[in-house]
């Protein structure tokens, strides 16, 4: 941890593999990740780059997480975001100082909101509609 309480590269490299091990064990979200990701070693590297870009503005990650999730939209449902965030809260709290864990949790919550906005507002096939009220026909 640096003086600002921000996460370090070393901490991210410890956090990400441990977090995704927990994700893959999860009955709700594990199968989605496992069906989509072929090379986990490579993917974990990409995720460290992503979090390094987000938390440390390193700019190493050049991809589009929104487009990546849109590709798999039919199999991603809104409750999965809550489960992901719950596991993230658990693992960050287990291995990081409280202020660092809180910063990562806050950032993840905002990113989850922005992903949901892009996924379920814009294209909105079946999964996003599941929790919506019954349409009132005009």
């Amino acid at each position: 941890m640096d003086i600002s309480g921000n996460v370090s590269e070393a901490q991210l490299e410890r956090l990400i593999p441990r977090f995704y091990a927990r994700v893959r064990d999860d009955a709700l979200i594990g199968p989605v990740f496992d069906s989509v990701i072929g090379d986990w070693q490579q993917h974990l590297g990409k995720l460290v780059d992503f979090w390094s870009s987000v938390m440390l503005t390193s700019g190493r990650y050049k991809g589009s997480p929104v487009a990546a999730h849109l590709k798999h939209l039919p199999s991603i449902t809104p409750p999965m975001f809550d489960r992901w965030l719950m596991l993230w809260a658990e693992v960050t709290a287990e291995i990081l100082p409280p202020t660092t864990a809180a910063a990562l949790q806050g950032k993840a919550a905002r990113i989850a909101e922005s992903l949901k906005l892009a996924l379920y507002f814009r294209l909105s096939p079946a999964p996003g509609n599941a929790s919506r009220p019954t349409p009132t026909q005009s």
Binding site: G59, I111, S114, L117, F121, S138
Partner: protein, 177 residues
């Protein structure tokens, strides 16, 4: 809100006239035809992912709207049949925030249709009580971002996705927008 009353004839600042009305269940062929005339870049900007054909599932998602939380307006040419643009509005459960996305036929660009349609959707959202209007734009979609800025939207980085920007503005629009 009775959305049937949200039909009408609009004139753009260039003097181009078009008709606007909410989408209905038998519009799929016309909507499919529209997307065959949208440039590949504009398709990518609309769906935020590279696609060549807008398939039945995507079309269905744009047509099966509840006309309350979600509405899709079609802009039609004076022949009454050619769909020249679509403007989709999707609101959150609280009806506080709405996201708008517009697609336009490439051969009808440059006549002020997108501006007029965005303004129309903003008025509709306003009437439904929506307080914030948003749009997710690809960073590369300069013309859309510019248009929205001119309409008082502000752009900021999209959380977690450096390829996108989130543009938004508070409603209502000024009377003379």
């Amino acid at each position: 809100m009775n959305t049937q009353s949200w039909s009408g004839d609009l004139t753009t600042r260039t003097g181009f006239k078009f008709h606007v009305r909410p989408i209905s269940s038998n519009d799929e062929p016309a909507l499919a035809e529209l997307f065959t005339h949208v440039t590949p870049d504009d398709l990518r900007f609309r769906f935020l992912t590279g696609i060549n054909i807008v398939d039945h599932n995507r079309l269905a998602a744009l047509i099966d709207v509840d006309h309350r939380q979600k509405e899709n307006f079609l802009a039609l040419a004076e022949d009454g049949a050619t769909v020249i643009a679509t403007a989709m509005l999707a609101c959150d459960d609280a009806m506080e925030t709405g996201e708008v996305a517009i697609s336009i036929r490439s051969d009808y660009k440059g006549r002020g249709v997108s501006w007029k349609l965005l303004e129309y959707v903003a008025r509709f959202a306003e009437a439904a009580g929506v307080q914030t209007l948003q749009s997710i734009e690809s960073y590369a979609n300069h013309s859309a971002i510019e248009l929205e800025r001119n309409m008082g939207f502000t752009a900021r980085p999209y959380p977690g996705d450096a390829t996108l920007v989130l543009v938004e503005r508070k409603l209502p629009l000024p009377v003379d927008a």
